[in-house]
């Protein structure tokens, strides 16, 4: 579906359909590869559904999609439903499990050390062995992001509410880690982020690479920072 390599997503009059009703005004937009797109809008407008549609999930929509990445190129990090787990996952285990998916077991075993070395901005020695249940929101999100970055075939990162449940300090911390990665190793990575929080650190740090896509009943707006 993706004919133009520099175009990561393009659609015409696209809307998510729920109960035979379009959730937001038809969206016509083209997103270039390497852009960081912040999807904003009020609750229930269809932000997560749009993200899942991008992630090739079976979501009902109207309009047409002209270009979108293949499932193999996408890494989708869904919203956290629970902050506690019965099993005491360490942050390192979380990163490895997220990053490897169901790829071969030997890869997982080898990479226990590798991921934390590859992404020092997400991990410190002390954090690696911290148990998920006892980690702060910021530490948890950085472990998830480290795992997502480790997915080597990934060209597009879809993040659903990554800053939920985080305090102000952690929100900034996570944005700075992500920013550092996007400026260095992740220069070509395209990111779609659904978030209610303003992404000030990202928008200021990325300049023209950052854009905000506002979904609303009355209007759909793609705003690019100059």
């Amino acid at each position: 579906m993706n004919s133009d390599n520099s175009l990561i997503f393009a659609c015409e009059n696209l809307s998510i359909v729920f109960d035979e009703r379009a959730l937001f005004e038809p969206l016509t937009v083209s997103v270039q590869a390497g852009k960081v797109t912040h999807i904003v809008g009020k609750n229930g407008i269809g932000k997560t559904s749009l993200l899942r549609l991008l992630g090739s999930e079976d979501i009902k929509f109207s309009g047409s999609i002209l270009s979108k990445p293949s499932p193999a190129e996408i890494f989708y990090l869904p919203q956290l439903q629970s902050l506690q787990s019965h099993l005491p996952f360490t942050l390192e285990e979380v990163a490895v499990l997220i990053g490897n998916g169901l790829i071969s077991k030997s890869f997982i075993a080898r990479d226990m050390d590798e991921i934390s070395k590859m992404f020092p901005q997400f991990f410190s020695e002390i954090q690696r062995n911290k148990v998920w249940n006892k980690a702060s929101g910021g530490e948890r999100m950085r472990a998830l992001l480290a795992g997502a970055m480790a997915c080597r075939s990934c060209r597009v990162l879809l993040l659903d509410e990554p800053l939920n449940h985080l305090d102000v300090h952690s929100i900034l911390e996570v944005q700075h880690s992500l920013l550092q990665y996007l400026r260095n190793e992740g220069k070509d990575l395209s990111v779609f982020i659904v978030s209610h929080e303003p992404l000030e650190a990202l928008s200021e740090g990325l300049g023209g690479r950052y854009q905000a896509l506002t979904l609303a009943n009355s209007e759909v707006k793609l705003r690019e920072l100059k």
């Binding site: 869904p78 919203q79 956290l80 439903q81 629970s82 902050l83 787990s85 019965h86 099993l87 005491p88 996952f89 360490t90 390192e92 285990e93 979380v94 499990l97 997220i98 490897n100 998916g101 169901l102 077991k105 997982i108 062995n129 148990v131 998920w132």
Partner: protein
């Protein structure tokens, strides 16, 4: 009985018990992580119900219960367990706050139904007691050999898929994601093993081996991650349950075997979780 006499008499029971308990402890850790504890309780109760219902059917058909081979009840046990599991699966659609209550209601309903069937014929009392409490010491050598073989097959499958189980448990517990078809088949396996174990070793021992090790390590484990937790649970199952049988036969032959085994497993898991670090 001396140590060697016990070993000679239960030469196949010990390996079967060690393997099946290790497997159940593995399943229990994953089931608890996926919040499937009450679901597995209903499934085990379903297996008990199926087994007893088959016995009643045999009586209605004027078959001699002594001639009904125990393996004949397996399809009925697994079948009813599967039905109970399907009903329990419907609770996924309930709000999270009501799910545990709904599953408890299902379990108590299945329990009551089992009691009604047992009341249908006096000859069912002893079979009910065998499957509800378990009677591991009376399993024949031939039965133990077959069960040992079955346990080896199941263990190999679980071992080969251990990473998939871990990833699915993570994704289900924290992201509420039921995952791919393969993950669903893994979940089925996690629930099938307790059903077969209830049929072979009884409801009490199955539930104890499923959830005692993971509970103890969850409460007292000081270091290590999820992988370490699961390895510890498997070790507890592997050693704790056979140790319980040995203690029961050697020191407390007058006490109910399964109760002594459960208490030994409880103590063993506590000591292992509290004092051993690796």
């Amino acid at each position: 009985m001396t140590f060697f006499e016990i070993l000679k008499l239960y030469v196949w029971t010990f390996p079967f018990l060690a393997l099946s308990s290790a497997m159940l402890a593995f399943c229990g850790a994953h089931l608890a992580a996926r919040e499937r504890t009450l679901q597995s309780l209903s499934i085990s109760q379903g297996a008990e119900l199926g087994s007893i219902a088959f016995m009643l059917l045999a009586l209605i058909l004027h078959l001699d219960l002594q001639e009904v081979e125990s393996w004949m009840t397996l399809p009925a046990a697994v079948g009813i367990a599967f039905l109970a599991g399907s009903f329990a699966g419907k609770s996924e659609k309930f709000p999270a706050s009501s799910r545990a209550t709904a599953l408890f209601a299902l379990w108590i309903g299945l329990f009551a139904l089992t009691q009604v069937i047992v009341a249908g014929h006096p000859a069912l009392e002893s079979h009910f007691s065998k499957i509800a409490i378990g009677d591991i010491a009376t399993i024949t050598s031939a039965e133990s050999q077959v069960l040992c073989l079955v346990s080896i097959v199941f263990s190999l499958v679980l071992f080969s898929r251990r990473w998939e189980f871990l990833r699915a448990s993570f994704s289900i517990s924290l992201m509420g994601n039921n995952g791919t078809k393969q993950e669903k088949s893994n979940s089925m396996l996690l629930l099938l093993i307790p059903a077969v174990s209830t049929w072979s070793s009884g409801f009490s021992l199955t539930c104890a081996t499923l959830f005692i090790p993971t509970t103890m390590h969850s409460l007292f484990q000081k270091a290590g991650g999820a992988r370490s937790h699961i390895i510890r649970c498997v070790c507890d199952g592997l050693l704790g349950a056979p140790l319980g049988l040995f203690i029961s036969l050697t020191f407390f032959p007058g006490l109910p075997t399964v109760s002594v085994m459960v208490l030994t497993l409880l103590s063993f898991s506590f000591v292992s979780a509290r004092f051993f670090k690796f």
